[in-house]
């Protein structure tokens, strides 16, 4: 009898934890709230710039995709959400930065890192990745290369 009761209790706890949540499309202000929430930039730019500069000798940082102000239509076809060019980048700091940034943004971030030499070589030869990124909608949040 006792055993049965314990088992029943355990089952109940597991079931509660399985509750899944989603937005209610019938919410009175669903569209208004959506516009307001998505209008805000996914991460604070000033804070982001400061953290990126702390990663190493950063020469260029470009944001695109998820970081551009949008109306909710996601730009999935972007080649990179965040692109950093720099030397002596601390891998440990970079990893921590990306984990925190993904938590803030709420989505996986497409990220690319290049050192300065590789970037300048690729830029000079009209590399497809660089061209697509810099010719599409983007923002250079750090630019010490005079691009």
């Amino acid at each position: 009898m006792k055993k049965y009761r314990i088992r029943k209790k355990t089952k109940k706890i597991i079931r509660t934890d399985k509750t899944r949540w989603s937005l209610n499309p019938d919410f009175e202000f669903f569209n208004e709230l959506r516009n307001l929430i998505l209008k805000s930039s996914p991460a604070e730019k000033d804070k982001m710039i400061k953290k990126i500069l702390g990663l190493g000798r950063v020469k260029l940082a470009v944001t695109s995709g998820i970081f551009l102000e949008n109306t909710g239509s996601d730009l999935y076809d972007t080649v990179a959400d965040l692109f950093i060019v720099g030397d002596d980048i601390s891998k440990k700091k970079l990893r921590a930065f990306l984990v925190a940034l993904e938590a803030e943004v709420g989505k996986e971030i497409k990220f690319t890192l290049m050192d300065k030499d590789e970037f300048q070589y690729r830029h000079g030869m009209f590399d497809r990745f660089i061209r697509v990124l810099l010719e599409g909608p983007h923002e250079k949040i750090i630019n010490k290369l005079g691009l």
């Binding site: 934890d17 937005l23 803030e104 989505k107």
Partner: protein
């Protein structure tokens, strides 16, 4: 607009983070544990905000 403005307007950073996450991943549905992992906030704080948003009918439970 900085997200800080919304935090202050709504009076809760976790609430704004939750709404941001849910709108960005709409119509996805998530458990408390998944939300905690994805937005890096404690389970208890998330439960508190979910219960408030549930009362307002901003969010709803999805039963499998």
């Amino acid at each position: 607009m900085s997200s800080n403005t919304l935090d202050k307007l709504f009076g809760s950073r976790v609430r704004v983070k939750l709404l941001k996450f849910l709108f960005r991943n709409y119509p996805g549905n998530f458990s408390v544990q998944e939300l905690s992992k994805r937005i890096q906030e404690p389970v208890d704080d998330i439960k508190k905000e979910l219960s408030l948003l549930d009362k307002l009918e901003t969010i709803k439970k999805i039963r499998n």
